[in-house]
């Protein structure tokens, strides 16, 4: 296709992706409040709209109208820029995540992702590494002791668990032979004996999946690893001094990171958009992969929220010891064993 068509199609894809992602973020918040509410034997939001479905809209309106305070001795440029940095990097990682096969719309043959890069997995890891800046700079520029401690702890935790996150993914890379996310998903197509899917989690990356799960909980600062933003420990950690729209940006960045991590787990371990799809009219066959992808992400997010409602949080030294002394050696062992098996099989 010509360059004009390419730019137009890309812009449409970007607009749709950002719109869908922001709506998903808002409704993940709703889902969390409902599920955690039911776990704690209460209803969760029920008043605004049926089942409280319009609650995110009410929250958005509240955030827009709240007073935006900037503490007197805060370092203003970074105080204002830090939530924007966090949100920008959280939203950018969606650009290399594929959600379905190639489709043909109005004669234009295009993949269901914004762009397919040969090093897609490294792009996502790089954006995750850059996301640490939002947290660290927010904690420092607020000029408050709770924020500084929370920011330092949160960024140290994120940097430590990034290593185990990356190493747990190398096993998947060895099995697939490519960094491109679409190639990794295509390597998981097909089934054994007609009904056991050829997902990476069944191909021996079971331990890697659990390492990834725990490292992902620590990367997104969620329970049981959310000491840096726990109310009883550090007021609110690095976003203590933030109000209104800036706090909303941190909130959105956290949930967008959760969705990114969930989609990465789906692509790398749970087979992406592959599922039973050989039935129905051709239109259904084109849409069904997207539905399977969304269902798997929903399952992963439900697991996130379920763990949040159930477990207590780690102390900071327990957290760091767990990351460095348990997860990292386990990830290296997984890598060595996977590489050995693949080398001996070839």
């Amino acid at each position: 296709m010509g360059i004009g068509t390419f730019i137009l199609v890309s812009i449409i894809k970007i607009v749709v992706a950002i719109g869908v992602l922001l709506t998903a973020v808002a409704y993940t918040v709703w889902l969390e409040r409902k599920v955690v509410g039911h776990i704690q034997n209460r209803w969760g939001p029920t008043r605004v709209g049926p089942f409280g479905l319009l609650q995110p809209l009410a929250d958005g309106v509240k955030f827009i109208f709240k007073e935006d305070l900037i503490p007197p001795h805060a370092y203003k440029p970074l105080f204002i820029a830090a939530p924007m940095i966090a949100l920008i990097f959280a939203l950018t990682s969606i650009s290399v995540i594929p959600i379905g096969n190639w489709i043909t719309v109005f004669g234009i043959h295009t993949p269901l992702e914004i762009t397919d890069v040969n090093i897609g997995l490294l792009v996502v890891l790089g954006i995750t590494s850059l996301g640490v800046y939002g947290v660290a700079l927010a904690g420092w520029s607020s000029n408050s002791k709770y924020s500084l401690l929370g920011g330092l702890r949160a960024s140290a935790q994120m940097v430590s668990y990034e290593i185990s996150l990356g190493l747990s993914l190398v096993g998947v890379l060895i099995l697939a032979g490519s960094f491109s996310l679409r190639d990794i998903v295509d390597a998981q197509a097909g089934t054994y004996w007609g009904f056991i899917p050829r997902w990476n989690i069944f191909q021996g990356q079971f331990i890697a999946f659990f390492i990834y799960l725990m490292a992902a909980y620590a990367e997104t600062n969620r329970i049981p690893f959310d000491l840096p933003e726990a109310e009883t420990e550090l007021v609110a950690g690095y976003h203590t001094e933030y109000s209104a729209m800036k706090f909303a940006m941190f909130f959105m960045a956290e949930y967008a990171n959760m969705i990114t991590v969930a989609s990465l787990a789906t692509l790398l371990f749970l087979g992406g958009w592959h599922g039973p799809h050989r039935f129905g009219p051709p239109l259904l066959q084109a849409i069904l992969p997207v539905f399977w992808f969304a269902a798997k992400i929903f399952a992963f997010l439900f697991l996130y929220i379920w763990v949040r409602g159930t477990l207590p949080r780690f102390r900071y030294d327990q957290l760091m010891a767990f990351g460095w002394k348990f997860l990292l050696p386990l990830a290296i062992a997984n890598l060595v064993i996977t590489a050995l098996i693949v080398a001996l099989r070839a």
């Binding site: 790089g126 590494s129 330092l152 960024s155 140290a156």
Partner: protein, 178 residues
């Protein structure tokens, strides 16, 4: 044409970041402009086809080393720089000297360049080929650098720990309990 445009835009961002590093008085601003320089250098590497090097530049350099710098600036609460006599002398001689030196070098490079054009993505560096080189031709430097990193970790832990805390921790605890 597009190649030249993208190169110039990101080259300008690089130079602006580097000059901003020199001009800013607070070290945190210098650190953030260095992150911007590293990001635009990653784009330049992509223009030359070195995709794996660009990704590693973002993950390792901009995402880990610079985070370390930002941590230290936050921990030590580094404030703005002061103007001392030494710094005035250095600026008086240093800046004109470096300007003249770099203009000379740039002139020589542009005049006597018989070096030809470089196309977009001139030398694709896919991770597979780089991995092959790293583990076959460059295996010895690879192993030596891993030992180097281990030594650096040990050195950093020992240097930055509190004085006497590494060896004398057990005697401190005995004294407290007794």
């Amino acid at each position: 044409m597009l190649h030249l445009l993208v190169f110039s835009v990101f080259g300008l961002v690089c130079v602006a970041g580097a000059v901003n590093l020199l001009v800013q008085r607070h070290p945190i601003n210098s650190a953030l402009s260095l992150v911007v320089v590293m990001g635009s250098l990653a784009v330049e590497y992509l223009l030359l086809g070195a995709e794996f090097v660009a990704a590693v530049q973002v993950i390792v350099y901009a995402g880990a080393i610079m985070v370390l710098f930002v941590f230290v600036i936050m921990l030590l609460n580094a404030g703005e720089e002061e103007r001392t006599k030494g710094s005035r002398v250095a600026m008086l001689f240093g800046i004109p000297g470096m300007l003249i030196g770099s203009v000379l070098v740039a002139w020589v490079l542009l005049e006597h360049s018989g070096t030809g054009n470089v196309a977009t993505g001139a030398l694709p560096g896919p991770p597979k080929v780089i991995g092959w080189l790293l583990f076959h031709d460059f295996l010895l430097p690879f192993e030596v650098t891993s030992v180097l990193v281990l030594i650096a970790i040990m050195g950093a832990v020992v240097l930055a720990s509190h004085p006497g805390s590494v060896e004398q921790r057990s005697t401190h605890e005995d004294k407290r309990e007794g």
